[in-house]
Each structure stands twice: as structure tokens, then as C-alpha cells.
Assembly symmetry: C3
Homo-oligomer: 394 residues x 3
């Protein structure tokens, strides 16, 4: 009987998605959410770190610009003490190195206006797109081309379903959410979010009780169709868990431990995960809504956890109703109380994988077919593995 | 004159007990105290780390079981969110991997009751013995055999003395104490506890003043009989400091610094240290009592400091008297105020030895004969040096 | 156009002052301020760390002695629990190893008065000089000879100026100041202190507004005479920024960002920096006064920031006036509020240089001629690069 020693079958499995195992710092050349629009007011300046890239964002005349957050002169972060002297530039607070917002070129040095470096030095810039109340930044190689459309790094638009949820980029949608720091590698967050077998940690959550939801103990894939691969031309790549009874057997009872699913209301909450790691849960937390999640790598041990709810909303009255629901039910019981358990679970895995050998020592079980498929798909479709920052950023 | 440079004589000395110098993570294949019995109620679950082993303890139907505290599936600690679904198993809170308490075998997965892993995967278990109000766990190699008796890893029973103190495993004894974290390697704690020359740090302690105890400045070994080796067949191994005037000269005065021992009451407090590092101080803190100490390695930089007092106690009335004494005198002035100084001293040594070369750079003096003898005995009689956890545990 | 990639010209520049780039732990064989005199009372004992050297200071009969702060026996810091048993010795609190204050020789062991180690073991001592209310210690190799005079490691005495400021070692001077920890390497502190282009961070400081001082935006060196090298025989080595209009063009306006110098009062505040890193700002914070700064390396990531003000003071009445000015104006608005910005700037540079490649990646500009000259002078005139402590101290 196999004990806790290293499993050679696990090692050979992990070789099948080796690029994924190597992506400690995330995938690159992809759009990541950086801030909510409301977090960056006109002339606001903020620094964020994504996949090891220190990036400073400034809004000027409504438009958001992103530059490398490290002055070329002595390497300080410009976001530490924002200094905006003109509408077209960002200045470093230390000696006044002043860079063009759109090209990163050194336009002047406040303390040395005739300096030979002016016009010759620049810092890199990052493409920015602002949609649905979120500022997205394209993180990766500066010379990556052509730039993919934002839609290519978003969940697919559901069309094959009369009861389809709205897409975040649709018109007439309500979009709200939160983001917060997770103390684990981004991949453990992705795998927790998509995992069809982790219902147990939500077993006694308030929102499950409040909605009298019939939450199974787990699922068992029973057909080839359990996991569908998403591979749209020029569009999202990823996988979809087909939660229907032809593809999955729903575990409603486990006699060995005398457990049985509770709740009366059973409804459909299909999940999908697309690169670089964006979860879509349809009809969650309540029917008609969708939950999006991003797990943006900060460094190799932390990620920024984005939780967004998307609903349909055609007019001001519906928006007021949605605000009421979001403020008093969906955020506190869904995004907070329910998802707090997911955050807890990822952080609990970190030590095992951080030591480097978790990928080879883990014992995956039947429902982990979804996780393994995700790893292979991610290993195949990513646009590059992010190198650690010491090799490009310091 | 020798300065602070490396001493070649110290290096050659340290080679005589090389296995001891290498035991950063402690000795293995030995009984260590894990918890007081009162710290683990029926169905209670707690995690402890000893010599780098993460261990989860559960009490079920009165009996205590110990398993590796790392689920085989994704490596989380089961003790983080205790889940007891049956009397014979411990379940992981994440996906419900459920292990047999006595064999560690995977009995079911709550979320996947027909999983092929069931019955094929297991986590290791640890032998447990509960005696004298303490839960002891045998830490080391899973296949170590035969298992030594708990008595072999305990101080010897004093028999050659009409005024002998009780043994902790005797009937009719009173046993109480505390345990707390020490921020030093376990060996520095052992050596501090046994050190016959460290009386100076207790010079002005309240319990010494309160008992008007005649505490010398130090001792000088004057005969071969100063240190006796303990080597019982199938029993404890260690050494005993024979604090009598034939073996040791008691330093009651140091004219160079004009210091003289204070106090009127002089009495016998013989000390011994047995493997894996258990101190016995007879007739301390007051005549008729004994103090036991364990310094259980947590990792290479921390130990769990156990301080236990053992007295004779034949009935409820004597127990009430002992409780009064313990609560109002022995613990606050003995285990706390007095021994706080020992904790301070070990932690002060940590930096010097942590850098790796303290064992070669130290200058040992006459009374350190006891320390050197301990090191040699420990190097000879231990049942194995604990490897760092990355090589077996992650 | 050069981007953020590594600059080969920067690398070849940094090779010109390679010993400076290697001096992570500071320069050795030099006088550093350890404590203010008032911080060490008679029989006071305090520990300090300078350039990685752990040093214990004791005052006995008025005189200050410095020894290595690590008992030869078990390596504990003696400063943790000061124990002074005689006027000529310092004792370790653990076992009473007692060292001569002036030679570091082991004079007795309290717990072992006849020990063979006595007279044979010693710890190293450090030369001490106490001047101008400051205790200076000579840090470096024990056998370095001959010992330089303290004056050689001090700013030069200004003589070529009818309006010269007082020298800290003069008679009839007023000397007060503070010291505090800076979380950056010492060199970043030196370079910040001397930097002629960093006026921008002081642009809106209260003391500048309060004195209506005409603070330029920066300077541009326009002649060979901008930076003068200080190389006194047996005296200080360093450089001086000649802030006059023949050597420097003062930037009073930058049209590209529409900034213009504020303030009406323009006056002379020449700066100089001598080894091992001592700043002198003449006529600062107000005319007639001088500010001295030391940036004493603690380890490779921290320095002790010393800020001293020196003024003339001939009698008690002038001292009372100076106290009033210092307490209510010069310290709070000068040493604190104004210099807090400098501390902030150094700490902001630390990450870039700590990663090791800042020295090669930085883009220095015109006014950084002063910094480059300082680096070359420091590389040339230092008395040795301090090795990391693991190679000599543990």
C-alpha cells in the first residue's frame, strides 16, 4: 500500500503539464484586472504589482495610463508619492524625472532641465483597457504583438441556453464586486475555484442554508462529456464543467460516514475556467446572476482575489433593487462568508506546494479529472510563462 | 593568547560528539510529550509539531490517536478544521478524505465514495501512550521496531536513597506543570537545564530569597565521580551530576569579584539528564518534590519547554494541599519566575549556535565537563538523528 | 532608445568604483559615533552594532571602554543583562566570565574561580574616544595601526571663509542632535545626503516656508570647479560641492512642467562629504550653524542616521538661547520634519539596490557628477572594506 512517499505516477502526471508547474509567477501576455474604475479618480495615481510587474497607474483627462513603477534614475517607485505636474506626464517625486504617459519617454528632469538623458531614456508602458468598471492591464513582454482583444481573456458569452446569464461586457449589466489579497500561489486559487469536489467546505455556509440549496457532497465524472474544452478562435481558451446528470453523478449520500445532502432547492450552476485563470459560475449565488473570479498573481506566494457579480439591469429602478440585493445579501453572504472558506482552503495548501514537491506528492482522485484537464489546457494555451522579476524588473 | 578566532582544540572536541552537533532537528525514535491529557477532550482534535513532524491528535472513546497532519490529497493540515464523522476515523475538512484512526488508511472520500484511491492510500500513524496526565507520542521512523517502553525514555526511578523523590510513573503521585515555546534550538535548552555552572542567573530570584536557600556561585568537579553515566538495560541512558562534596567543590566565594554565596539553607538537589533530553532535579523547588523538564524540538530553532512538578500524594486532602502549594508558590515562583531566567539564557545563546560555528568557537570551562559528557552520551545512545522535514514530510 | 534593460555603460561606470559597490557592510578601520555621551551614564552598559560588529560599551570611573559583545564561553551578548562587579571588569551575566575592560582578558569566572581558562582567553577590545558629547569607536581590524586621529575621520575645519561655521571639535561650540535607524544601506543614505539634485523632496517642507528660503529646483554643474576633492595630509578625504555661480547653474525654473523656485531668501549652504560618509552642510538649517550627518552601517540593510547641529556658544546665556532655538525650531522642523523626507527617499531606493543590480541599472544624470565623484573618492581613500560578520564575528 502506498504511503506518504513520493509517487512516481504523480511525477509522470505532472510532466504532462510541466509549463503549468513552472508558472510560479503566473502566465504573461494577458489581460489582468488592476483596479476598479472607482479606485482611480481623475489625477489619481496608484501602484499595483501583477505577476511581479510593479506598475503605476494614472488617470488623466479620464483616460488611464500604466507605466513601470520604477524611476529609471535611482529605482524608486513613483507611486509612493504621486507627482502630476502636467496632464501628459508623470513625475518622480525624488528628482523630478518626468515621463510621457503614453510612451514612457523622459520628457524633462525638474532638477536638470537641460540634461542629456532627456529624450533618450524611457520606462516601459503597459496597454490599458477600461471596461465594465474595471481597469485591465496587459501584463507581459513589451514587444508582444498583436495585442489580443480583451474578450479573448474573458469567459465565453453563453449563447446555447435560453436561460443564459449575462456577460460582463454586455450592455445593460450590473457589475459589482471586491478584490482582496490571498496568501497563496495563484494556481491553488484557480484549482480551488474550479474544483468540483470541494463542496464540503461550503456544507454549512449561511447562504446555502438561507437559500435552502441542495448542495451535494461531491460529484463523480461518469462520461467523456463531463469536461468540455473551450477553444474559441481568437477567443477564450479553457474548460467547462458540464454539471448535468449524463456527465456527472451527483453524490447525495456517503454511507461510510453517514452523510446526506441537505436542502430542497436544486439548480444548475455550471462552472468554467479560462486562461489566464478566470472563473465563471453561472446562476450563482442566485439564479440569473453570474460570479466571475480572477486570481491575479502578485508574486509567487500571493494573488489578488477578484470576486465580481454580474446581473442584468435595464434601468435605474433595477439598479436600485440590485444594489439593495448586493449590499445586503450577495456580498456579505456570498462574496464574503461563502468565499472566505475558499480563501482559507487555498492558503492551507500553500505550504505543501511552496516546498516545491506538492505537484509530485499530491494524490488526485476521480473528480480531480477537472483539475488535471485544466492544467493541461493551461499548459497548452498560455501565451508565455512569467519569469521571476529579478530577471527583468529590478 | 587566544583571541576570538576559531579554536582548533574546540573543533577536535566537537568531533567527539559529531552526531550530537548534527542533530539540529532533534533525536528521533523516541517518546516525546505532545499535550497534557486535559488539553485534549473527547473528540478533541489538535495539531502539534515535534522534531519537524506535523502530527494531528484525536481522542475517540477515551483513546488518543496520532496521524500525520497532512492530507494525502492536497497536503492541507487536517487539524486546521477538525472534522470527526465517525468514531473510528478522522476526515479532512477540504474534500472529506477520511482516514482510519488506527491505521491511517483512506476509508472513504466524502465527495467521492467510489473513488479508486479508497483503501489504497494511507497516511502514517504514530504510537501514542498516555500516562501521568500526559500524552506521549513516539516520533521517528514509521518502521522502527521494537518500540521501546515509555520508561526507557524517562528519568530513572531513584531507589538508592531513603529520601528518594517520587517517580512520575509511580502510583500516588501529584503531577502538574506547564509547557511553552522556547525560541532556541533544543540542545541549548538541554545544556542550560543541566549546566552546573549557571547558578549566577538565579542569584537574585525570588524563590531563592523566599526559601533562604544557600545557592553557591558554581561548582568545580574534583573527582572522577562527579558525573555518573546512566545506562540501564532497556532503560534510560544519560548522566547524573553527583552533587556531593567528594565529587564537587562548591564555590561559595569569588574573591576576585568580591562575591559570596547568600542564604542559610543548604540542601541536596541532584540533577540528571537522560535521552532524548529529560531533566530531573531531585528535591526541587522544595524538599520532597522533583522537577522534570523536557525540551521537545519543534524545528531547528524552537523547542517546546515542558516543566513538570512531581510530588507524593496519597489522598484528596493531600491533593488539595498540593494544589494550594502549586498554584500559589511552586508554579509562579518556581516554574515561572525562576525558570524564566533559563529560557532567557537559552534564547541568548541561539544566535551564536544558529550561525553554525558556535560548537567550534565556544570556550568550555571546568564545570562544562558535565555538558561535554552529556554530549558524548547523547551522541552514543540516541536512536537516530532526525532528518529535516523537507526530506520526509512535505 | 534605451529602455529598462541593463545598460552596459552603467556597468563599465560602476567598475570604476568597484570597491565602493562591494562595501555592503561599510568601510572599516574608521571612527564611527556609537552613542551620545549622555546615553551612557557612569557604570552604564549598552550594546551597539556597527558595520556588523557587536560591541558592548561600559563607562567606568568616567572613561568609556568597548569590547566585543559576545562572551567567549557560550556566545551570549553581555549587554543583554549588564553585570559590573568591579571597576576594571565587565562580567557576563550567565556564568560570570569576567573580562578586563582595557585588554579583554578573562580575569576570573565567578562560578569557577580556579578555572584553567582564566588569563588564557580574551575577547577583543575597540579603541574609544569621547569628544564633543559623542562616544566614537574605532571599528575594524584589531591589529590596524597606527590608529588615525579622530580629526582624520571628521569634516574639515573651514578656514578659507570669513563667515566660516564652527567645527564640532572646536572649543565653545554648541552640539546637539539625534540618531535613529534608517532602513536602507548606508551608501544610499550618503548619496541622498550629498545629492545636489534632490531639492524637490524638500520643496514644500515647513522649514523652507518658515524661513522663506529660496530653494532652487536643482543645479547643473557648469565648470570643472563644481566638485572639489578633499585630501588633507593625515586628514579627511572626501569631496565638496562648491555651490557658487561659477561652478553651478542654479535651476530656478523648469518651463516644461511650469515650475518656478519659491522663496525670497537666498543663501549659501555648501555641502561636503568625507570618509567614511560624514556630511557637512554649512549654514544650515540657518546661517551660522552647521549640520553634520553620519550614516553608520549597522548591517547591509540598515544604518544609524546621526543628525548633529553645531553652533557657536561662548557662555551660559548663549547656551540657553541655543537650547530654546534647538528645542522649538531646529530639531522639530529641521532634523525631524525636513530630514524625514531624506530618510523616506533612501528607504525607497533600498529595494532597487538590494537586489544587487541597481548599481548597474541606474541612469545617472548631470548633477550626479557629485555622486560619481564621491564613489570614486570613497573607493580610493577608504581603509578597507568591511567583511560580512559571518567571516569574523560569529
Amino acid at each position: 500500500m502506498a504511503g506518504s512517499e513520493r509517487s512516481s505516477s504523480a511525477i509522470s502526471a505532472s510532466r504532462q503539464y510541466a509549463p503549468y508547474v513552472e508558472a510560479d509567477w503566473g502566465f504573461k501576455n494577458t489581460w489582468y484586472p488592476a483596479l476598479f474604475s472607482h479606485e482611480l479618480a481623475e489625477n489619481g495615481v496608484k501602484g499595483v504589482t501583477m505577476a511581479g510587474h510593479d506598475i503605476v497607474l494614472r488617470r488623466s483627462r479620464g483616460k488611464v495610463y500604466a507605466l513601470r513603477d520604477r524611476c529609471a534614475h535611482r529605482g524608486v517607485k513613483m507611486s509612493l508619492r504621486p507627482m502630476c505636474l502636467t496632464a501628459e506626464t508623470l513625475s518622480c517625486w525624488y528628482h523630478g524625472f518626468t515621463y510621457g504617459l503614453d510612451d514612457g519617454v523622459l520628457k524633462t528632469i525638474v532638477a536638470s532641465p537641460d540634461d542629456p538623458l532627456i529624450g533618450k531614456v524611457r520606462i516601459r508602458t503597459y496597454p490599458v483597457v477600461e471596461r465594465a468598471g474595471i481597469i485591465f492591464v496587459f501584463v507581459g513582454d513589451e514587444d508582444f504583438a498583436p495585442l489580443p482583444a480583451l474578450e479573448a481573456d474573458m469567459p465565453i458569452r453563453i449563447t446555447d441556453d435560453s436561460n443564459a446569464v449575462a456577460h460582463i461586457l454586455d450592455d445593460n449589466v450590473y457589475v459589482r464586486g471586491i478584490h482582496r489579497t490571498g496568501n497563496s500561489n495563484w494556481r491553488l486559487a484557480v484549482e480551488n475555484g474550479f474544483d468540483p469536489g470541494h463542496l464540503l467546505i461550503h456544507w454549512d455556509n449561511q447562504i446555502v442554508a438561507a437559500t435552502d440549496r441542495k448542495l451535494g457532497l461531491g460529484v463523480e465524472p461518469i462520461g467523456e462529456g463531463a469536461i468540455k474544452i473551450i477553444d474559441e478562435p481568437d477567443g477564450p481558451k479553457g474548460i467547462m464543467n458540464m454539471y448535468n446528470t449524463r456527465a456527472y453523478k451527483f453524490i447525495m449520500e456517503n454511507k461510510a460516514v453517514n452523510m446526506r445532502a441537505r436542502g430542497k432547492n436544486s439548480y444548475y450552476a455550471r462552472t468554467s475556467m479560462v486562461l489566464p485563470g478566470i472563473l465563471l459560475v453561472e446562476h450563482w449565488p442566485i439564479p440569473g446572476w453570474a460570479q466571475y473570479e480572477w486570481y491575479v498573481p502578485t508574486d509567487d506566494k500571493h494573488h489578488e482575489y477578484w470576486e465580481i457579480l454580474v446581473g442584468r439591469c435595464r434601468n435605474e429602478e433595477e439598479r436600485r433593487e440590485a444594489d439593495y440585493l448586493y449590499d445586503n445579501f450577495l456580498e456579505p453572504l456570498g462574496l464574503r462568508d461563502f468565499n472566505d472558506n475558499d480563501l482559507f482552503a487555498r492558503e492551507a495548501m500553500q505550504n505543501f506546494y511552496e516546498q516545491g514537491d506538492g505537484w509530485n506528492r499530491e494524490w488526485l482522485c476521480a473528480f480531480d479529472a477537472a483539475t488535471i484537464t485544466w492544467r493541461k489546457v493551461a499548459a497548452r494555451f498560455n501565451r508565455g510563462i512569467q519569469e521571476p522579476p529579478e530577471s527583468y524588473n529590478r
